[in-house]
């Protein structure tokens, strides 16, 4: 079974590819970018095309699949092939899939389930990354606030941190929020 993954995110594409590699008899290729998209899809002669739901090229591909005479068996959206529940799951995960007409359901289902799991895994990765980035930004903010307190009050670093922490506890806020307030106030007062 030939599978084409269309994705502009190289990371997501390789995560999906890795997941599908466990399936038997699968030949997987990845296509990214808009350039000569249809020609490259046609060249791969796929049985299944997987792409992210929000991919801007979806209208182009739907039209191609609707009118394609180049393919021996026209590709249909998988909504013809699968039950509504698994479609809903894949839409929620952000996957759209197109399947050659006539490909049996028992071959498509495990593939779709895998694709959904890999898309979800990628989404989790992104959330983790965003959280990590947020934490990093918070740490930088706290460092800045500490420096401001050290410079303006002549206290040591541990004391500066202690002050931020005490204020956070007494006002029922996170240290990062207090730090942000300190930095903002400092900037407003022309100390930036």
């Amino acid at each position: 079974m030939r599978i084409v993954i269309i994705d502009d995110s190289a990371v997501r594409a390789s995560i999906i590819e890795e997941g599908l590699a466990s399936l038997e008899d699968c030949e997987i290729s990845i296509i990214s970018g808009r350039e000569k998209l249809l020609a490259r899809v046609a060249e791969s002669a796929p049985d299944v095309v997987l792409m992210n739901l929000g991919n801007p090229s979806r209208d182009v591909l739907e039209e191609y699949f609707a009118v394609s005479r180049a393919l021996a068996r026209p590709i249909a959206m998988f909504v013809d092939e699968s039950d509504d529940e698994s479609i809903a799951a894949s839409i929620d995960a952000g996957v759209s899939a197109y399947v050659v007409d006539g490909l049996s359901a028992h071959r498509i289902r495990p593939l779709l389930d895998l694709a959904v799991r890999r898309f979800n895994a990628f989404a989790r990765l992104q959330t983790d990354l965003a959280v990590a980035k947020g934490k990093l930004a918070e740490r930088e903010m706290i460092d800045k606030a500490k420096r401001i307190l050290m410079d303006s009050k002549g206290v040591t670093e541990p004391d500066a941190y202690g002050e931020l922490r005490r204020k956070a506890m007494s006002s029922n806020k996170r240290i990062a929020e207090i730090a942000e307030a300190v930095v903002t106030a400092h900037e407003l007062l022309g100390g930036a």
């Binding site: 739901l53 929000g54 209208d59 959206m77 013809d80 839409i91």
Partner: protein
């Protein structure tokens, strides 16, 4: 407690009414809180609508009909209780092609540009070349308007030219790369092609059909019933947003709102062109006033006329190569829901037509029509070839176009 509705849209100026209803507080005044999901392709907007990510969507009207009829996917009944606007699209040609078939200045005459294009198509055919046009998906008024114009000018859309799908945000890129020779797309994407110096606007879709139906607010039919009070509140809020939108003193404010990254993500100066009917047609040109380029609010422009849905059905049959089917024609007609529109606005003082269907393209001058409430005059609404569409003779109209 506000009633929440989630609305899907594509970054286009004609997504303006629900956006402005939220931004200016008209929705909140009706007890609604609106949330928006922006996408880059109509396929995604439709999927989100069908699988419940959104309650309603800004949608190309023919796609709502095609989905109801099961074209390209299993049938799912959709309902359109509100037309989001009339026209607002343009035909933009590569500067090279525009120089050969377009007018010297201003917008072209659809007959003259069409006949020049016809000669150009024949000349290129001798060299084994075909002109290529980009439209949004086949089930779009862009596609139908372009084909209507081409075929009325003697160019067979399926044989003499190639029509391909290009997502609106990429149409300027496609013109720049020479992938297409022209496009029929909504604003701000024509103006962006002009400003990049890769295209010239030669015609407005309003020159092909003076009052052509464009996007609709589409919902799953069952969701419409389940959320009926919220939908009616949304209709009232969007009518107020429309009154705000057409008032020249609000143009700049509204252009700035629609320009924001979360909406059209385009310069507000460019958005202002569509809002004010003043288009810059070629790079460094002066703005040209073309009235009712994008028609909003007046003449009950948002009323979902059954006859508009029926006209779209005739074009779907025409370009999908289908035979007339009375069952399909009826299903298509029922996608447009004037009953919901009436129920939402009855008693508000807003104008409501007396009929729900009219002969499309039959008026060549302003005409007073009967109204259920308010007074109503419809302006000229003709097709450029002068042929009206009588919804009492859908089958005959289809036959006459083959």
């Amino acid at each position: 407690m506000l009633d929440e509705l989630t609305i899907g849209f594509l970054p286009l100026v004609d997504a303006c009414l629900p956006i402005l209803a939220a931004e200016h507080g008209f929705a909140e005044a009706e007890g609604l809180s609106l949330r928006f999901i922006k996408d880059m392709s109509w396929a995604t907007v439709l999927d989100r609508l069908l699988y419940g990510h959104s309650d309603a969507a800004h949608m190309i009207a023919p796609l709502a009909i095609a989905t109801t009829l099961g074209r390209g996917r299993p049938a799912q009944p959709l309902a359109a209780p509100f037309v989001l606007g009339l026209n607002g699209n343009a035909i933009t040609l590569s500067c090279d092609l525009a120089a050969r078939v377009g007018p010297l200045e201003g917008l072209g005459d659809p007959h003259e540009v069409g006949s020049a294009l016809c000669k150009e198509v024949a000349r290129l055919q001798k060299q084994g070349r075909k002109l290529r046009f980009g439209v949004v998906p086949r089930y779009s008024s862009h596609n139908y308007m372009l084909r209507y114009w081409l075929s009325a000018c003697g160019i067979r859309p399926e044989h003499d030219v190639e029509i391909v799908t290009v997502a609106p945000p990429f149409s300027a890129d496609a013109l720049a790369a020479g992938e297409i020779d022209g496009s029929c797309v909504g604003e701000p994407w024509n103006s962006i092609a002009v400003d990049r110096g890769v295209g010239c606007i030669v015609l407005a879709s309003a020159q092909i059909w003076r009052r052509g139906v464009e996007k609709v607010l589409a919902m799953r039919a069952d969701r419409l019933e389940a959320r009926r009070p919220a939908v009616e509140a949304l209709i009232r809020a969007m009518r107020k947003a429309g009154a705000h939108f057409v008032d020249p003193s609000n143009w700049e404010v509204n252009a700035a709102v629609l320009a924001r990254p979360e909406y059209c993500n385009a310069p507000s100066e460019i958005i202002l062109r569509a809002i004010s009917d003043r288009l810059v047609l070629r790079a460094d040109g002066a703005p040209v006033l073309y009235s009712d380029f994008m028609f909003q609010h007046r003449e009950a422009a948002n009323f979902p006329w059954i006859s508009q849905a029926e006209w779209l059905y005739t074009q779907l049959v025409r370009w999908d190569g289908l035979a007339y089917d009375s069952g399909d024609a009826e299903k298509a007609a029922r996608v447009f829901r004037p009953d919901v529109y009436r129920s939402a606005l009855s008693g508000t003082g807003d104008v409501l037509p007396g009929a729900s269907s009219k002969v499309e393209g039959s008026l060549d001058r302003p005409t007073a029509v009967t109204a259920q409430q308010g007074a109503m005059t419809l302006a000229e609404n003709s097709f450029f070839d002068g042929r009206p569409f009588d919804p009492d003779n859908v089958e005959g109209y289809i036959a006459s176009q083959q």
